[in-house]
Symmetry: C2
Subunit: 180 residues, 2 copies
């Protein structure tokens, strides 16, 4: 990473990579600065606090989820489950690391707690569980949502072709959540 080029975008990209590898609270601003070849003070010129960076990194993911849920909510009930599965599969594959940190990191979860985003995650699980929502389908929906971090966690999936992986996740969703 060439010095003199640490724009806000580069800071977010470097941060996401480190958040993914070491966790949000395991990542210091010194680590971010060093990975960009600048000093901490340079970072602080672009963001006021570490928390601002965390929010800026995670925000696009939250927006994506909210948009997805709104779009799926507008569909006929019998299309909702698989539309959401397809949308989530796409996100989990295209933005593997962002998705993993958003879903998975404890600090991200704390940030989410009590916010509108928490409602969005809850709504996703309920949409996946369908109108019946017996405890079995709620459990399978939650398992599917947690399972979506697999593309970021498993080394072989991380290396797998995007389209193929996306198709595999969609099939997994159909098996787990499809009509009995």
């Amino acid at each position: 990473m060439p010095r003199g080029d640490s724009s806000a975008l580069q800071i977010r990209e470097a941060s996401l990579e480190l958040f993914f590898r070491h966790g949000v609270s395991g990542t210091s601003l010194r680590m971010v600065a060093e990975s960009l070849g600048v000093t901490k003070a340079a970072i602080y010129h672009h963001y006021r606090t570490k928390d601002d960076i965390v929010r800026a990194v995670l925000d696009p993911a939250f927006t994506t989820f909210t948009t997805l849920v709104e779009r799926v909510d507008a569909l006929p009930p019998d299309e909702q489950v698989m539309a959401l599965v397809r949308g989530l599969a796409r996100q989990a594959v295209v933005h593997r690391r962002l998705y993993a940190v958003t879903l998975h990191d404890v600090t991200a979860a704390e940030l989410r707690r009590g916010s509108a985003q928490e409602q969005t995650f809850r709504r996703m699980r309920d949409l996946l569980a369908g109108p019946a929502s017996d405890r079995g389908s709620v459990a399978r929906s939650a398992l599917f949502l947690s399972g979506l971090m697999a593309p970021a966690v498993d080394a072989d999936l991380l290396a797998m072709d995007g389209a193929e992986l996306e198709a595999a996740i969609i099939e997994a969703g159909a098996r787990l959540l499809g009509r009995d």
Copy 2:
């Protein structure tokens, strides 16, 4: 937690609770000490470093996984997938927090990297994928493994009756990984 009773076991229990809620690197020894009503120095009497505590907390989980894999490896091939699913479902339900931290926390993953435990996790995934091991079944296996942290992540699953949740996870495994 009464003071004067912070044995090594109590330190591990308090640490696990905090690791689960705040992540390993989000948990300080001060937090552990305060939750036990003692000082940091008392903790250091029982463990030499924070890393020692982390290892001591996670070790039982690793042992359980290793034992489970050895047991499943000795079974006839056509029984292996569902035996492993049942074993994992049991662990995921009974030791929700320990399981979640072990599988899920980035610091735990770093600790695992390059160790024998990494091989055990790999072996679990391969056993679940079965002998064919096309990329689709590898993806579904990885998704199931990641999905097993759902009981620790989802509030409703966290509250669900153990036996019922275990049965739901086993059914999810059968749907995802069962013979086509």
